[in-house]
Amino acid sequence: MKLFDIDWHGFLAKLELFHKLPVDARRFFVEQVKPSTPVSKGVLAQFREPLIASGLMVMSPTGSHANVHPECRDFSRVIRAMARSRVYASPSRDTFHFYLNDNLTTPEITALSGPGAWGRLDHHELQRVYASVCSKAWPKGFLDAQSTGWELDHASAGEPHYLSGTAVLRAAQRLVQAIAESGPVMFSRIPEILPDTAPETISGAIRATLRYLLLFPFLRHDDLEPMIGLWPGLAEKLLNKAPAQPQPVAVGEPFHAPFLMEDMVAILSACAVEPIRLRGNDMRIFEAARQGLEESLGTLPEWIEASFNCGPQARIEFALFFLGAFVYVKRAGRPGADFRLEPTREGAEWLAMRPKERLRALIDGLRGSRKKAEALFADEVMSLAPDLSAMTSRADSAKLLPFILEGFASVPGDKYLRLADFLAWQSKTNNGLAALVKKDRYFSIRLNWQHVSGLSEEETESIWGQALFNFLRGRLLPLGAVTVAVEAGQKAICLALTDAGRYLLGTAQDFDIAGDPAAHVLIQPNFDVVFLTPSARVEASLARIGERKGRHVGTLFRITKNSIFAAAAASLTRDGVLETLREHCAAGIPPNVEAEINGWFARYRQVNVQPATLIHCPDAETAARVLATLGKKAARLTDTVLELRESKIQSAVTKKLREAGIFIRT
């Protein structure tokens, strides 16, 4: 080992000095102070006093700087190494590999992985270290070891033995078992966990567990307390806490809305009123336009936004992506010259559909039962499970998809299951990835732009669980295919399938868009639309009709002349608007509001602008002669102005005009 090969008894003693420091001084010591580098008085600032008082640092004789106490330098190195480790903050292959390289030598790593095909440590073998060490079999094998012979299979040649005797072995096993049961513990508590154990034995046990990657040290984030624990997530597996089949639970705050569809409608409607300008450099929409679009989005409950990372910015991006993939919008103009996003004919048709038909169009597109459009990356965006496409080949994705669909199809519609339980159960019992790995030892996937093979059981479960979650987040939830809720009295997220979900998963031929029975919305005679209860779906529906005034509950919209004009420009009809208002608003539409909406729709007109070629004649007689020559190719606008019906005058016509004495000057 590089840094952790120390006298841990001494470390525990120095820990008492570290405990004397307030948290901000600890942070300074860990982050700013190097073991062998002096620190000037000025840099020490307000931390000088506590650091010197603790004994971790000593002032120089001149008083101009301080150094780490020579007896505390190992402590400083070790604690800085712990701070570098991201194993607990962000457990992943990358953080594991970083930890490995930071703390073990190459021979030690090779001893764990075995040599590669070229006789040295290579990428594939390194992957296998992760797969074996971060799997429950690793600590389990150690706990089952009867003698120090276990070490022989995992140490490099010539390396000193860390399990120097049975006492150290047993102490190390007790330490691993205790931590598996309790979770990560403070270093300072280790003597309590190993009472009646000699200090050197405790030190040897710690060293051994760190050497053989049975335990991992880290600093607790809040107070930088040195901690030690198993690889995150292993403890439960080690204690054989197998996931149970999820059971129905009671819930509150149910939410379901096809908000992706509503967001697409909001953006498309905005485009229909006025095309959205695009930046020439990256072809994205301008920030001001983005903020305007955010205003038009329906409101999701905060817990939904936080749990599923679907804040307004992410939703706009997602909706734009879909609009592009379905070719409902197109870029027009050129960068720097009226570059804009405008609806296509297909987009306008989609916008004019009823909500159920719109949603069906999206789902059918994803299911592939609709002809895919020609947009770039359309296949990926429009695939039912884009995570799988990113992870594996197309052929393998096709093999994995049924597992995902089958998994979610098992979710009931009338009862709620805890999401965490569902994911754990599916990852254990219906794991498509595990099935492929089992068939092919060298099966690899793309993970964070790297090819990863030799996946452990735990890793396949974790990756599969994430794929399921991403399918929920990227497909089921935004299309209203599930209702999510919070377990009554707890904070656990739960889910149930909707009709649209069954249709999406292929277990139903049709679906209904469920109403929102909880929504209580009123239209006031002063044109305010008041939400007495929140409803994202109704809010999205009415956002096309009124000007936004608020979010969640209260006065959310006001119907105005301009908002009705905008609705008309977005192809909504008077009857459609009135029907939508009657459908959602409990007490109907006040007569004066209905009268005004009728009046505003009656005033709405659409005009077309097109270029025209005009012929200006000096007098009416000349105009008559020109008209006589051009015949149906021209029309009289005024006594002296004619409009040419063609884009330009043909040369034959020009010749005829000249013969009549009329010469054209452009």
Binding site: G252, V530, E596
Partner: protein, 569 residues
């Protein structure tokens, strides 16, 4: 959502507005609570909007309602949890009231803070520092009596209102009483809400009473409340009001309903300068001056007698010079009467500081339900523009467009049709353009009152109208303010100014009087369709809906008015 209580009526929003669902079973209880500490902003049919402001909280505190009670009431009636910062701010607003007091003792007029840091803050604030006299102690300052009003104004501006407990001068005694029977022989008795309002103002004669504002809807009898307050105070009174007609209305009421004699009541206006034990003056005369930079000579009226009581009728219209004088009259009892505390100039906090906190406020719906004011049906009648006016309208400037639309000659047919719909009902025909009024009145044989109608003639016509000899009266803007026509149940507006809220409230106030029979009043507004007049009418529509009036829109043809293409007959 967690903690959602569907039966409760209130939604408290982060911007301090409170929505109240009228259909909720607990609405009335909630409304009664809200009236104590929140301002009613708008009251359309289903959901009413209130707002909590520092001023509304201070008004509540002045009436003995504390922060805990306010927050408790909101929590009890809210559908959802109250935003935490709203509770914090209510506590903060409330905590500022009562920390400063103005009292009178042997040392004189003393401003006393409840702690030294606050006293320091007041001493250092640039608005208040110049008004403080000798520092009597770490927490006390001597205040010049002349600065009593100014210091209260300044303290409101820095967010620490002072409770004025310095008492009043009693003024010249004046003994009189309210009659049991009017001069016309009709029984007269204060209504319960009028008695409560007067009692709240008087506060049994303690120093906590004697200054403040009473808000009652148009037609609820604010004049009666003023007289009731006068009768408990029994002292000489100066009454300020908005016009000569209003002055004479006060005079009539006082003679009709109190034991005061004619020689005890004086008119002080452009037409007369009688200063008597009860003197009624107009704001106009008080704020008159010869030149832009001249003095206001008639403000001397405030010092002409030892007034014990000053009444500010329609206090929301108080002009700036009167504010300034009022600042120096803080030793007199003061009463503001109004239907709305909303001022177009936003000086509500000056009213609070110089006149006093709100003492009584009865929602108009309560009075309507009890039958004290009539329900009003508002109808907008839309007429097409005649063909021959469409092009002149299209090419006209904006201001001219409004006039062309307003003076649509087809309106006469609508007026006739409306009058025919309401046979026998006393009606007002209201307009902005005198030519139009004359043109409408003449064929219908209606008398017209404009700004140039001599006062005597106005009085005669109003008397004839009140006594039923004239059924329909055409009036211009002069009829907007403070004219009591108790028998008007129908108003037809043929042209209006540009959607002033105050104007609409006043016009409706003129017709909201209890009637025998249906107790229903009607307000018609005739506009030309698809013109700027209709656009401005929308503002009026919004305002009236927010006041809670029922509002409908009718096509003129449905009323019997001719279609656009038919030539004007």
């Amino acid at each position: 959502m967690p903690g959602f209580r569907s039966d409760n009526p209130l939604i408290v929003q982060g911007d301090h507005t409170i929505l109240a669902e009228v259909a909720s079973p607990r609405y009335e209880d909630a409304r009664d609570q809200l009236a104590r500490f929140a301002e009613l902003i708008k009251a359309p049919e289903h959901v009413h909007t209130y707002r909590v402001t520092p001023l509304s909280i201070w008004n509540a505190c002045a009436a003995g309602v504390g922060a805990a009670e306010i927050i408790g009431a909101l929590q009890e009636f809210s559908k959802y949890a109250i935003p935490e910062h709203v509770s914090v701010e209510i506590r903060d607003f409330a905590s500022r009231y009562g920390r400063l007091r103005l009292v009178r003792d042997e040392r004189g007029l003393v401003l006393s803070a409840n702690d030294v840091p606050l006293a320091e803050q007041v001493a250092r604030a640039k608005q208040t520092a110049p008004l403080l006299g000798t520092r009597l102690s770490p927490r006390e300052f001597l205040i010049s009596p002349a600065a009593r009003g100014d210091i209260k104004q300044a303290l409101v501006k820095i967010g620490f209102p002072a409770e004025d407990l310095a008492g009043y001068t009693s003024g010249e005694a004046l003994a009189f009483s309210l009659r049991d029977q009017t001069l016309a022989g009709l029984p007269f008795k204060l209504r319960a809400y009028q008695q409560s309002a007067a009692a709240a103002f008087h506060a049994s004669g303690s120093d906590r009473g004697g200054s403040g504002v009473i808000t009652l809807p148009c037609g609820a009898g604010k004049t009666i409340v003023g007289m009731a307050c006068m009768s408990v105070l029994q002292c000489s009174t100066l009454i300020l009001t908005t016009s000569v007609t209003a002055v004479r209305q006060w005079m009539r009421e006082l003679l009709d309903k109190t034991s005061l004699r004619e020689d005890e009541i004086g008119e002080y206006s452009g037409l007369a300068k009688d200063v008597r034990a009860v003197t009624i003056a107009t704001y106009q005369i008080m704020s008159w001056r010869a030149g832009k930079d001249g003095d206001f000579p008639h403000l001397a009226l405030f010092n002409e007698r030892n007034w014990g009581f000053i009444v500010y009728d329609e206090v929301h219209l108080l002009p700036a010079p009167i504010f300034r004088v009022t600042a120096s009259l803080q030793a007199r009892r003061r009463l503001g009467l109004t239907a709305t505390l909303v001022r177009e100039d936003g000086r509500e906090d000056d009213v609070f500081a110089l006149i006093g906190p709100r003492k009584a406020d009865v929602p108009w719906k309560v009075l309507e339900n009890q039958g004290w004011i009539a329900t009003a049906q508002c109808t907008e009648v839309r007429l097409p523009m005649p063909e021959e006016l469409k092009m002149p309208y299209a090419v006209a400037e904006a201001r001219d467009k409004f006039r062309i639309a307003s003076e649509n000659p087809l309106k006469i047919h609508a007026v006739r049709a409306i009058l025919d719909r309401h046979p026998g009902e006393p009606a007002l025909l209201i307009g902005m353009y005198l030519d139009q009024l004359e043109a409408l009145a003449k064929p219908l044989g209606l008398p017209v009152i404009t700004g140039s109608t001599p006062q005597r003639k106005r009085d005669e016509l109003f008397t004839d109208f009140r006594e039923g000899r004239i059924r329909v009266l055409a009036v211009s803007k002069v009829a907007n303010f403070a004219i009591d026509l108790p028998e008007a149940s129908l108003a037809i507006q043929v042209s209006g100014t540009f959607g002033s809220r105050q104007e609409e409230a006043q016009r409706l106030g003129r017709i909201l009087r209890p009637k025998a029979g249906l107790n229903q009043a009607h307000f018609y507004s005739i506009v030309s369709r698809d013109t700027v007049e209709q656009d401005f009418a929308l503002k009026r529509q919004l305002f009236l809906c927010e006041q809670g009036y029922a509002y409908s829109i009718l096509d003129g043809e449905a009323l019997g008015a001719p279609a656009a293409h038919s030539a004007l007959q």
